[in-house]
Amino acid sequence: MNVKTQTILWIAQRASAAVLALCVTVHLATMVYAIRGGLSAAEILSRTKGNAGWLAFYTVFVLAVTVHAPIGLRSVVTEWFGWRGAARDVFLLGLAMLLAVMGMRAVLGVFL
């Protein structure tokens, strides 16, 4: 991987971090609001079913996480576990895809 790609990864990491800062703030506020008086599937679904606003929000949230987490983990496995080279990056790409698929499955699950 050349330094240009590594620079792009850094920019993607910081850009997704800025998006996530907003998403996480909204997410934390929603959680505190939602758990008052106990959670139920019906309550969650009544908020999200067919709501395009929440669909857009959670889609952006999931995709930002998909970008952010594997790049962060790249530093961790390199620096703490000494894992370098192409196999590491293939593994992290796989992780990104797993997060994207599972995340979008969940997002669509509460929308449809």
Partner: protein, 204 residues
Amino acid sequence: MTHIQRVLDPTLAYRFACRVGMCGSCAMTVNGVARWTCRTHVDKVVKNDRMEIAPLRNLPVIRDLVTDMREFFDKWAKAKGQFSGRLTKNEDFQKVKPDSLERVAVDAGIECIGCAVCYSSCDVVSWNPDYLGPAALNRAWTLVKDERDSKKIERLRAVAGDAGCHSCHTHMSCTEHCPKQISPTAGIAGLKREVSLALFRKAL
């Protein structure tokens, strides 16, 4: 140190030259923290009547308290730490405004004397031996901001990526321990932004 060598153990090897904080050769690890031994009063650092003096971290030890600084300085060269001007001796001096934003940024980092306290304190250097380290990157930053220099893009290319500025995680140990009160973290953050700008302008 001199007392130990003269009185207690004449075989002790350690490095020093100026004794007044100018040469940068006497940095060691005192009670776990890298610092100049010349400007360190024992009563300021002694803990429970004990003081442990060790060689700098992150550098190979040659003998006793003497470390091999080759890698440290080789990384300055790798980060393109040499000034490369535009003018020849036939032209007049290039004038640099002392209060320009660029020059103020250079001034903040220029007083480095290469003692390797920052390099020795940096966790990323311990974790990733290829990492150029705070001193070399700080040097590159002072040249990137030097309007007389002509090699900006080559330098940005040299300091980008996993072995360069993008691996800094702002632990700020360099800034915390620099005896010259320089903040390499600030310079490295500047490099990250400059490299990104160069990439957006398709210059990288």
